[in-house]
């Protein structure tokens, strides 16, 4: 990079000293590189090579001159470069003072004097410029005409490069002849046509004219180009004579325009004109047939349109019924939900509300089927959540109930068990009493009531129980031998009576 600009570079080139000139040329190199980088970003495919014109490589099409473009409507003055007075091409803005120019214009002005062209503030080529992006976007939207000859394509400016470089048939491209360095429209650039830039003498005025420019020469410049039509006495450009005869000349014999419907009249054009004006017999039929053909076209078109509309209608109806069905199902499931829910376990308010809200949306319209499906899906999810909660709660409830019931049963069982134990003890006690009384009977001689024995032994039963144990077994074994069975049965009723609730529990 060259050193920053020095004041002496402002002086005219004629008086600049050799070292200054050398420095300037170095700076120019850096300027052109800046221009190339700025330019290549925006101006299409071939611009990269355009930037290197000095290296003598030829771009694939003649580059667009953005300053020569014609715009569809008048461009705002604020989008015009103050230097070239055309809408900016690749605008750049000066950093210290904020003025905008075409990059090419500003860099060129900068070469002459390194100051801002508006307020003469010194500018440094490396630091003091930035891209004007907003303006660039505005420029991109301007509608512009294609610069190629004979092309009337109009498009936003940002798309022009693509049309011009790839598609436009009028774009100047390098001449197919390698030795020729001129440009030729793309539709003329075919190897079989060869180089159209060789000069040939005009066949009418013997002037040397390029082949590519021959048509234009005939039409505009050539002095001896017009000739009177032999038939109709009108001045006609010579090389247009053929088309004149075929399309225009009133003396050419042509057939009636209703010939396809049966009119067989053939006559010079001027007579045919008269014939067609004076109603040709076939004119009426011709019109009818023509109308009918047109009608048929219209009918088929309408039919196609009708079928598409019907299809669409069917689709929408189907959708509607589906939606209704879904809504109904939704509503019923909502009712079920509310019935099933136990009031003590009402789920989270938000969750229970959302399905209903979603259901109400169902009446309205959905933006798209996806939205609808999403809403449905959401609703299902919330319902699932509710159900899961309910199940959990029911589960808890169940286990609680189970626990409660079994506890009661357990208590009852325990109670019963204890009662059985008490009864068992009663029996043992009664057996003991019986054995004792029997033992006394044996000892006394069989006389005495068991009741008396009971009373007498009640005080010292604890002391005697152990001693009498062996005795009991003996008496039980011996009972069948004596009148024990009889005695046992005869004594039972009174003993049973003593077993009543009112009696004292036995002491253990």
């Amino acid at each position: 990079m060259p050193p920053p600009n020095t004041p002496e570079e402002g002086v005219p080139a004629a008086v600049s000293s050799p070292p200054a000139r050398a420095r300037r040329s170095a700076r120019n190199a850096s300027i052109s590189s800046v221009a190339a980088t700025i330019g290549s970003e925006t101006q299409g495919i071939c611009v990269g090579s355009v930037g290197d014109l000095s290296s003598r490589t030829r771009p694939c099409v003649l580059p667009i001159n953005y300053q020569e473009l014609r715009y569809e409507s008048e461009v705002d003055k604020s989008l015009e470069c103050p230097i070239c007075r055309t809408p900016f091409s690749v605008p750049i803005t000066t950093k210290p003072c904020g003025h905008t120019f075409c990059s090419v214009c500003l860099l060129r002005a900068h070469q002459m004097r390194p100051v801002c062209p508006i307020d003469r503030r010194p500018l440094d080529i490396d630091r003091d410029f930035c891209k004007a992006r907003v303006i660039h976007d505005q420029l991109d939207r301007l509608r512009v005409k294609c610069p190629s000859q004979g092309c009337d394509y109009v498009c936003p400016r940002e798309l022009l490069a693509v049309h011009y470089e790839r598609y436009c048939e009028g774009t100047p491209v390098p001449c197919p002849d390698n030795s020729c360095d001129l440009w030729i429209a793309r539709h003329d650039a075919t190897p079989d046509k060869g180089c159209l830039h060789k000069y040939t003498p005009c066949q009418y005025c013997s002037k040397q004219v390029m082949k590519a420019a021959l048509e234009e020469h005939y039409d505009r410049e050539c002095s001896g180009n017009t000739v009177k039509c032999a038939e109709c006495d009108v001045d006609v450009v010579q090389h247009r004579m053929e088309s004149h005869v075929v399309n225009d000349c009133p003396s050419t014999v042509v057939s009636c325009k209703w010939s396809s419907y049966g009119c067989g009249k053939k006559a010079p054009r001027r007579d045919i004109w008269a014939h067609e004006k004076k109603p040709c017999v076939y004119q009426a039929i011709g019109r009818l047939v023509k109308d009918r053909e047109e009608d048929r076209l219209i009918i088929s078109e309408l039919r196609a349109r009708l079928s598409t509309v019907e299809g669409r209608l069917r689709m929408s109806e189907k959708e509607k019924t589906e939606r209704k069905e879904r809504k109904r199902r939704q509503a019923s499931s909502n009712v079920d939900n509310t019935e099933n829910t136990i009031p003590a376990f009402v789920p989270d308010l938000n969750l229970s509300n959302s399905p209903r809200a979603a259901a109400s949306y169902n009446n309205g319209t959905w933006d798209s089927p996806e939205d609808y499906m999403l809403a449905q899906f959401e609703r299902m999810e919330t319902q699932m959540e509710d159900l899961r909660k309910n199940i959990h709660e029911l589960d808890g409830l169940h286990s609680m109930r189970l626990l409660n019931d079994t506890m009661r049963l357990n208590e009852q069982i325990a109670e019963l068990g204890s009662k059985v134990g008490v009864i068992g003890m009663h029996t043992t006690w009664l057996m003991n009493v019986q054995r004792q009384s029997r033992g006394q009977q044996r000892a006394v001689g069989g006389v005495g009531s068991p009741l008396g024995a009971f009373a007498s032994s009640s005080g010292g039963s604890g002391a005697t129980s152990g001693a009498t144990a062996g005795g009991v077994s003996d008496t039980l074994r011996n009972a069948p031998d004596n009148e024990g069975g009889r005695y046992y049965s005869s004594n039972m009723p009174p003993r049973r009576n003593s077993d009543g609730r009112g009696e004292n529990p036995p002491r253990l």
Partner: protein
């Protein structure tokens, strides 16, 4: 790419397909810019100044007129000027001369003008209209520090009456000759 056209102005018309643009124009960019300026001058003229290309169809030579501003010795007078544009206009200033003889501290007797914006202070953002307006204001506010006409510079301050007479004399004299 414009750069290329500027440096070798004759190339592009020659390389275009033959036909419409056959004549080689000097300074395509300059012509384009001058056409735009002409349009602007026609559609929105500034009061007191006017300009038009000279009759021979050469866009690089123009004729212009300035009316002398009120409250100056030049009030009521009209001055004719000539503009010669270089082929790299607007990057270089045009050469401007007073065709009508004028008695002014910064204009010499052959019509040459000493004005910084036509020399080293020129920038590419200037145009014909701004130059004419600058010249018009120069008539009312001469730069007496660097005069081309020393006598006029002296009289401007010392003897306005005499200055006015000299202005009228010189203006009339030559205009009658034309």
């Amino acid at each position: 790419m414009e750069d290329n056209q500027n440096s070798a102005p004759g190339n592009v018309p020659a390389t275009k397909l033959g036909g419409a643009r056959k004549g080689i124009e000097p300074g395509l960019n300059a012509s384009k810019r001058l056409q735009t300026e002409l349009m602007q001058l026609m559609t929105s003229p500034a009061p007191g100044v006017s300009a038009f290309p000279s009759a021979d169809g050469n866009l690089l030579a123009w004729r212009a007129t300035i009316e002398g501003p009120d409250d100056t010795p030049y009030a009521g007078l009209t001055f004719k000027l000539s503009f010669e544009f270089p082929s790299n206009y607007p990057y270089a200033p045009p050469t401007v001369l007073f065709r009508t003889p004028i008695y002014h501290p910064n204009v010499d007797f052959s019509g040459r003008i000493c004005l910084d914006i036509l020399k080293d202070k020129w920038t590419a953002a200037y145009n014909i209209q701004t130059v004419l307006l600058s010249l018009q204001s120069l008539l009312g506010e001469p730069n007496n520090a660097s005069p081309l006409n020393g006598e006029a510079a002296e009289l401007w301050d010392k003897d306005p009456a005499l200055f006015k007479t000299k202005v009228m004399d010189r203006h009339k004299d030559i205009e009658e000759d034309e």
